[in-house]
């Protein structure tokens, strides 16, 4: 199997026991087997004994299959949610520091407005903007603000959840 194949991106949710070392087991699995991780987030769930990891990986179907199985095989992994099999919503937050001067301020605020983003910090020469959305939205705002001079970006990485059943 070609572990390095750059197939499509896929989002996987992993519910794990909230214990020391669990994250390194998951990360070690990816590095040890040559699977890609594009991003990874982790935080406690409403059950303090469990954490939820959301990760984005890439590979062909066979690689994806193997990743899901290998995750399931980890003793501390309680559940693997393979979002290939369901509709889901996903969101990411980004903090974007952008140069703001006399000429660009109005433009920045207009973009912030269109994207329903927020200015969370202001200084004489910079705005820091908070934006939440899916991949496409974040890419789009980065593109627009990029033309005005971004100096720093911090992204949370994606979190995802299956859509609730309609009935």
């Amino acid at each position: 199997m070609n572990m390095h194949s750059n197939g499509q991106k896929h989002t996987i949710g992993v519910v794990v026991e909230n214990r020391p070392g669990v994250l390194s087991r998951v990360a070690g699995l990816f590095s040890g087997r040559g699977f890609n991780i594009e991003c990874l987030t982790v935080a406690e769930t409403i059950d303090p004994g469990q954490s939820r990891i959301t990760l984005v990986t890439s590979g062909d179907q066979q690689v994806l299959e193997q990743i899901v199985k290998q995750l399931n095989k980890l003793i501390n992994v309680i559940k693997v949610i393979d979002f290939r099999e369901m509709e889901f919503v996903n969101r990411e937050m980004a903090l974007i520091k952008v140069r703001a001067d006399q000429q660009t301020r109005a433009e920045i605020l207009r973009i912030v407005d269109i994207f329903r983003a927020k200015v969370v910090d202001v200084s004489p020469h910079f705005y820091t903007i908070e934006v939440t959305g899916d991949d496409g939205k974040i890419a789009a705002i980065l593109e627009l603000l990029g033309q005005l001079g971004i100096t720093e970006v911090a992204r949370t990485g994606k979190v995802a959840m299956a859509r609730a059943k309609k009935h």
Partner: protein, 572 residues
């Protein structure tokens, strides 16, 4: 009553039915050794921690029980890593206890501190650092449970020194609660039925069995299943012994089992590799399509539909895409397959198979495993055949790695499960002697033979003293070709005979070496001496090191060059 961590350790081991531990002490585990004399558990003091790990492994493979070893922190722990990885690759149930610096010092680069949980993470089924004595009993219980259930494997438990000294009321948990661990043992009936349909349609089936059959104690089921569907059987190196290679008629005469194809893969038999390459149905049971088995993946069983039974879902469709996956314990799955096949027997089965079996017979006769023993110079294959003959196959055989291992696999006929203990997945030179000692500890009265190479035997030769002082009469048969023979063979075939760094002309005098350790050393340099040396060795109730000075440049054949189809064998 309150007990110290070190006492709880032994209480737990007793609850788990542990009879023996293989170990080596040090500062971090003195507390445990301090309690050891009070408990009825045998301790085998090794001479190198790698030896302890392989002994626990040999013990586990020979018995099916969990092998246990105990070592100190830092270098003691790192010395076990090769042994742990060896066990992991071959799914051997083991629990490794390592000492650790006191919890307060962890992370401080303390004396003899090493992050063994981090180091061993990729080569254990699971591992633990016990941070509080309250967790100790639960962790030990879980460790044994994980080691022996599902797809077995080594589990490491790291024990900080202060945890061993701390006191607590001892309570052994009644059951294990692991939310994320639910191995699927029960094979899905729908899949079994699909398999049955495929079997009904097949004209040229082959069963390809692996170590999973032995682990699941499913040898009898395998034989019954093969008989029912009248399919020939090949096994991997790890599967040898799961299907009888020889049959005995009522007069006691032995002959090759006609349903037995021999081992497949890189050094498989001609008939096994040809049968797989021409089969229309391949039934893989407890095997994992390792690259040493498949050769070029796209050319493996190209005409066959594939059924794959395995307890580990990650093994299925990992290397080769499978048509009918069956996740489950091999014994459970085989029993169900037998049931459906018995309920609905295949019609005119013998007739249906006759052409296929005739073809296989022809392959066997055209290219049997063969070598020529002529003149004085001893052929290594001859030694293996004589070892088999002179014990009538009644032995537990361990091997080192290299040509010696392949000749053992080809020329010693394995008829029963757990009679060949060999490092298949990792290919660890130095495995054979300590594994033999571990097996001998489990079965003091059986004949245990390590079929060794002159290179490999030197990797854990220090354990000879462990055998001597514990009265463990293992027999080591060194096939001394004065080479790292298997590497030399690759150099011969694929690297212009550039025998760089493979000549072992400078060697110890093995007979004197045996003598120095208090074992018995015997040497055969001519063919006629082989039999007398083996007879003598088998008659001595002490560890014996036999040195057979064999033909220097003998090769292992057939051989499938790396990256080729398994039907493209180099024959002698």
């Amino acid at each position: 009553m309150k007990l110290k961590g070190a006492q709880i350790f032994f209480e737990c081991l007793q609850k788990e039915g542990v009879e023996v531990i293989f170990g080596f002490p040090g500062g971090a585990v003195i507390d445990i050794y301090h309690e050891l004399p009070k408990y009825d558990i045998r301790h085998i003091l090794v001479r190198h921690e790698q030896g302890a790990a392989h002994m626990a492994d040999g013990y586990a493979r020979a018995t099916g029980k969990v092998g246990v070893c105990l070592v100190t922190s830092g270098p003691g722990a790192t010395n076990t890593v090769t042994g742990i990885a060896t066990a992991y690759m071959d799914s051997v149930p083991m629990v490794i206890f390592t000492g650790q610096v006191p919890t307060a010092l962890i992370g401080n680069d303390a004396f003899q501190e090493v992050d063994i949980v981090g180091i061993s993470r990729p080569c254990t089924k699971h591992n633990y650092l016990v941070k509080h004595v309250d967790d100790l009993a639960t962790v030990i219980k879980e460790a044994f449970f994980l080691a022996r259930t599902g797809r077995p494997g080594p589990v490491l438990v790291d024990l900080p020194k202060d945890v061993l000294g701390a006191q607590i009321e001892f309570r052994y948990p009644k059951k294990v609660e692991l939310k994320g661990y639910r191995p699927t043992l029960d094979a899905h009936l729908g899949q079994i039925k699909r398999a049955h349909q495929a079997i009904k349609k097949s004209k040229r089936p082959v069963i390809y069995a692996g170590g999973g059959v032995i682990i699941a104690e499913a040898g009898e089921e395998l034989a019954r299943f093969a008989e029912l569907i009248q399919a020939p059987v090949t096994t991997t190196l790890m599967g040898l012994g799961s299907f009888p290679a020889m049959l005995e008629d009522p007069t006691g005469r032995k002959e090759l089992n006609p349903w037995w194809l021999g081992m497949l893969g890189m050094h498989g038999t001609f008939r096994a590799n040809m049968a797989v390459s021409n089969a229309d149905l391949l039934i893989a049971v407890g095997a994992r399509f390792d690259d040493r088995v498949t050769g070029k993946v796209s050319g493996f069983a190209p005409k066959a539909k594939i059924i794959h039974v395995d307890v580990d879902p990650t093994s299925i469709s990992k290397n080769v895409v499978v048509d009918i996956p069956i996740v489950g314990d091999c014994k459970n799955a085989l029993q169900k397959l037998i049931q459906v096949c018995e309920k609905e027997p295949l019609e005119d089965i013998e007739q249906a198979r006759s052409a296929w079996m005739e073809q296989i017979r022809q392959w066997r006769e055209t290219y049997p495993l063969a070598y020529k023993q002529e003149g004085d110079i001893i052929k290594p294959q001859y030694v293996v055949e004589k070892l088999y003959e002179l014990c009538n196959g009644n032995a537990i055989v361990t091997t080192e790695v290299g040509q010696n291992q392949m000749w053992a696999a080809q020329y010693f006929h394995f008829n029963k499960p757990r009679t060949l203990l060999t490092s298949g997945g990792l290919g660890t030179m130095g495995y054979g002697l300590p594994a033999a000692i571990g097996a001998q500890v489990a079965f003091p009265d059986r004949l245990v033979i390590d079929i060794a190479g002159d290179g490999s035997i030197q990797m854990n030769i220090q354990e000879l003293i462990t055998a001597v002082c514990n009265c463990l009469p293992v027999k080591v048969a060194i096939l001394n070709n004065r080479y790292l023979g298997m590497v030399r063979q690759w150099q011969e075939l694929f690297y212009d005979k550039n025998y760089c760094a493979t000549c072992l002309d400078a060697a110890p005098d093995f007979v004197k070496l045996a003598d120095a350790y208090g074992a018995v050393g015997l040497r055969a340099t001519r063919a006629e001496e082989v039999e007398p040396v083996i007879r003598e060795a088998f008659s001595i109730k002490k560890p014996v090191l036999m040195e057979f000075v064999v033909a220097q440049e003998e090769g292992v054949y057939p051989m499938v060059p790396a990256g080729k189809n398994i039907s493209e064998m180099l024959l002698v």
